[in-house]
């Protein structure tokens, strides 16, 4: 069973759905149009009402004053005094009616043929729609009647013809103004939808360009902070596009770099396997070499994968509060026997706990890579220092060696993934590639934490520092 109310609501909804425009811009137009038209109509109606009530109160004030004056005069000077006042009023030409009736209903004075029907002598105001007075024209009147001494009744009224005329004029104006308002509303709504559509089309055009492959396309925005929601949206678009472009560039660099860097170890691997397949016996050393080659390829892939994931911001949900000082001490402890065997002094510079929100596994891996690099390439100076300390902006972790270092003009290159500094550091190519990946992994992990990585001269040697903000 359906409720009648619901049925009616359904009917109206269906009806509205039937006539409602389908596009957003058309809806905005219609809404604006309706608002503007009804707004101006409402304004005119209010104006008319205000005028009418002003005129009414003027008429009421005037007729009530005459009636009261006549009453007062009668009380003081008898009927003659009242007649004098009323005759005086009648003598002034104007839209005034007066009727003084004797107890029997006989007219004592006045300009009306008789007492109008429906008007009681009770001091209330009455609106008489059409009344004839001595000139014989029927007009609407505002009247008031009151009892007078000795059973007389007095009626005073004022013509509302002027008011009606004004009202008619206003109605005409309203009717004339409505089409104008409608035209204006129509134009305004068209203009506003046009503005909105244009702004949206700007965005859509940029998206279209990007989709078509022009990744550098951006929404044109005025300088300074966003002035409106469209500017904000454009800005958000641009930020998103910049990020997408950076990620695609990154991906391109990774695939290019991987393709390039995997080629030579894979070629070596293939050559070794071919040589093994020609021989009659398989040497354990040969197999170990093949295995080591495969191992280093896997390590390269692993690091590369972690870099990509860190650059893409994956892993932030694994952040937890950890003590960086304890972490670096732990890692130094892990590498200490290896350093000692290599004749390197590995010292730890920490003063107290350094708390930070971090991805323990990733940060640990990045730092282990840095220490490993320092042992491989910076061991010449026989001294490596690692440390952690709280800074004004957050915290700082560093690994400093006293090896040959990296010249200032090549540090950017060293931070790039697959960046190679064959001449500067490391005797073997394979090791050099790892170094490149280790630094770029540290960089990617630093950025994942909202931090930065910096290379500086340790005089002598290389100092790699990771600065992490207090809140990642």
């Amino acid at each position: 069973m359906t409720e009648p109310g619901a049925t009616l609501a359904d009917f109206w909804r269906d009806w509205f759905a039937g006539i409602a425009p389908r596009t957003t811009t058309a809806r905005i137009s219609l809404l604006l149009f309706v608002m503007l038209v009804s707004g101006s109509a409402l304004l005119l109606i209010l104006l008319e009402r205000a005028t009418q009530s002003q005129l009414d109160s003027e008429a009421q004030g005037r007729i009530a004053a005459i009636a009261a004056a006549a009453d007062t005069a009668w009380q003081q000077g008898g009927i003659a005094a009242a007649r004098a006042i009323l005759d005086g009023e009648l003598a002034v030409p104007g839209p005034l009616v007066i009727h003084l009736a004797a107890p029997g209903g006989r007219r004592v004075l006045g300009n009306l043929p008789g007492w109008p029907a429906g008007v009681a002598a009770d001091g209330q105001f009455y609106r008489v729609p059409a009344m004839h007075y001595h000139q014989g024209v029927a007009e609407p009147f505002m009247v008031v009647a009151r009892p007078m001494p000795q059973g007389h009744r007095l009626l005073v009224g004022r013509s509302l013809a002027a008011e009606v005329q004004l009202q008619n004029k206003l109605t005409t104006t309203l009717l004339l103004a409505l089409p104008v308002a409608m035209i204006l509303a129509f134009l305004t709504s068209r203009l506003i939808t046009r503005i909105i559509t244009d702004r949206v089309h700007d965005l859509a055009d940029v998206v279209g360009e990007v989709t078509a492959g022009k990744l550098e396309a951006r929404v044109v925005l005025p300088a300074g902070p966003p002035a409106d929601a469209f500017d904000s949206m454009g800005q958000a678009f641009n930020v998103m596009l910049a990020r997408v472009e950076a990620l695609i560039d990154e991906l391109r660099a990774v695939t290019d770099g991987l393709a390039h860097d995997l080629r030579s170890p894979l070629t070596r691997l293939k050559a070794r396997i071919e040589r093994l397949s020609h021989g009659t016996t398989v040497d354990a050393d040969d197999l170990a070499a093949v295995s080591a080659e495969a191992e280093s390829l896997l390590a390269m892939l692993d690091n590369s994968l972690e870099i990509s994931r860190a650059e893409a911001g994956i892993g932030r949900d694994s952040f937890a509060e950890i003590d960086l000082a304890a972490m670096i001490t732990d890692l130094a402890d892990m590498y200490e026997p290896l350093a000692e065997d290599a004749g390197v002094t590995l010292s730890v510079a920490v003063t107290g706990a350094v708390l930070a929100q971090a991805h323990r596994q990733l940060l640990g891996r990045a730092l282990a890579n840095l220490i490993d690099n320092a042992l491989r390439y910076g061991a010449g100076g026989a001294r490596i220092e690692v440390g952690a300390q709280a800074t004004a902006a957050g915290s700082r972790l560093w690994v400093a060696d006293s090896g040959p270092g990296i010249p200032a003009d090549r540090r950017d290159e060293a931070l790039r993934r697959f960046g190679r500094l064959d001449a500067a550091r490391g005797p073997q190519l394979g090791g050099m590639q790892r170094a490149g990946l280790g630094l770029s992994l540290a960089g990617a992990v630093a950025r994942l934490h909202g931090g930065t990585i910096s290379l500086s001269d340790n005089q002598p040697g290389l100092k790699v520092a990771i600065d992490l903000p207090r809140v990642p």
Partner: protein, 230 residues
């Protein structure tokens, strides 16, 4: 030995794992997709499950989640090419007991498979002292003695020895040591662990406990127990 369920869609890989496990004395059941794997896991009484992640029908983590939701606590070792640190965390959070990344080495898989079964069967509990032959570890005072004679160890060396003795009779791989002692899941790349173990051995040797930490070629280390097939 018990039977192992291997849920793996790549036939070559499944055959390789089955061969390796059979060589170690296990019976192996193989499931080729997630759905049938889950059914077999819920029906059978397997000692442990080796679970691939990217499977047809139902992916590995979904199998794991449903298995655990059904109250089945069979130890699960995830074996996956999804090798990043984060994927590993996700695997462990979903309820797996260990996570081995592809490509893997058979001895590593066997060692971890054995470790998860041990962990599942016997609760380690709050032990205060570990004894292996003449070797005695006082876990409260962090002291080691051989035949009653004290051996001085660094805290890290103590934890290394403790981990090995706790897993006595089992092969402990380098990555298991890195996880167990340092709680890091990455491959440090160099022979970091070997150097630590050789230092530990040197101190044990000096204290008279030479040869207690055995090297298992191609796999890792072992303290005590009978020789294993791997």
């Amino acid at each position: 030995m018990g039977s192992i369920l291997c849920i793996e869609d790549d036939p070559t890989m499944a055959a390789h794992i089955a061969q390796g496990l059979q060589g170690a004395g296990y019976h192996v059941d193989i499931a080729r997709d997630g759905q049938s794997g889950l059914e077999q896991a819920l029906a059978g009484h397997h000692a442990a499950i080796i679970l691939d992640r990217m499977l047809p029908e139902l992916d590995g983590l979904a199998v794991l989640t449903q298995l655990r939701a059904a109250g089945n606590n069979t130890p699960v070792v995830v074996l996956s090419a999804l090798a990043s640190l984060d994927e590993r965390v996700r695997g462990l959070r979903a309820g797996s007991d260990d996570y081995v990344t592809k490509p893997f080495e058979l001895p590593e898989l066997l060692a971890r498979l054995e470790a998860v079964q041990r962990r599942a069967s016997g609760a380690t509990g709050d032990v205060t002292r570990l004894v292996e032959g003449e070797l005695e570890l006082d876990l409260l005072a962090r002291r080691v003695s051989w035949a009653g004679k004290r051996i001085e160890l660094q805290p890290r060396e103590f934890r290394l020895l403790e981990y090995l003795v706790r897993h006595r009779g089992q092969v402990v791989t380098r990555s298991m040591l890195l996880e167990g002692v340092w709680d890091y899941h990455f491959d440090p790349g160099t022979n970091v662990i070997d150097v630590h173990v050789s230092r530990l051995r040197k101190k044990l040797d000096e204290g008279g406990a030479g040869g207690i930490v055995e090297t298992v070629r191609g796999a890792g280390y072992r303290v005590g127990g009978e020789p294993v097939a791997a």
